[in-house]
Symmetry: C2
Subunit: 112 residues, 2 copies
DNA sequence: TGCAAATACATCGTATAACGATATATTGTT
DNA sequence: AACAATATATCGTTATACGATGTATTTGCA
């Protein structure tokens, strides 16, 4: 696991990216997907996941629909039009950010 | 400027990296260096900079020495032995983190 | 000469996130 | 029957960053 400090501010971007690539996902599915595709390095805890999802719904970046699965109600999230734009923008920003950081953290060549 | 969310948790790493590459630096110098070498994208505000520096001094990652410059006292910071180790470790962690993020945020190829 | 901008450091109060702990209920496995 | 996994939720605490603000010195230039 990376220090929680690093992850801060990236959760929303990661969730937007996942919803960009999938028509709809539910909370638990999102957390499992991140865990698996990061080799266990990113484990989004429930205490963080659900508040983020609720906030994004409030901001109209995602829409939620309840789907009855047996006796259980599952909450699916998908991107709104605003969410699609936000996803693109956040991912782009993160890529630029990574380029800058790579530049700044690149090993300094020892002078001859 | 990147959203402040993204920068959170990277300031300490950036400062450690700078001190790794320079024998000693003072606060204002650090903030100017970051600004210039990021094309203005990273502007570490004083309200963040000095508390971080004080905290790192408290944690014995850096040592501070006052140097008289004319009538002004300049505070130079340099890495301690523990700071050198911490720098290496933080930079390494950030690089691994970037690899993971690049993987997760890579554009998904459209299936044929 | 005078005044603005740059240099240099500092702190307080606020805002935002993230997270551990905890709770609830269902479903599948042993 | 008991336990693990599935699925969602919230409360209270902690960590961090930051805007605003304050002080003082030095440099540049009109």
């Amino acid at each position: 696991m990376y220090s929680s400090q690093l992850l801060k501010g990236t959760y929303q971007t990661l969730i937007l990216k996942l919803l960009q690539d999938h028509p709809r996902m539910y909370g638990y599915e999102i957390s499992q997907h991140l865990k698996e595709h990061s080799n266990g390095e990113i484990q989004l805890p429930e205490g963080s996941l659900y508040p983020i999802l609720h906030k994004m719904a409030e901001e109209k970046l995602v829409k939620m629909e309840r789907v009855q699965i047996g006796r259980r109600v599952r909450r699916y999230y998908s991107l709104t039009t605003a969410g699609v734009a936000e996803a693109t923008s956040k991912i782009d920003e993160f890529n630029r950010f990574m380029n800058t950081m790579q530049l700044l953290l690149a090993p300094k060549l020892k002078p001859l």
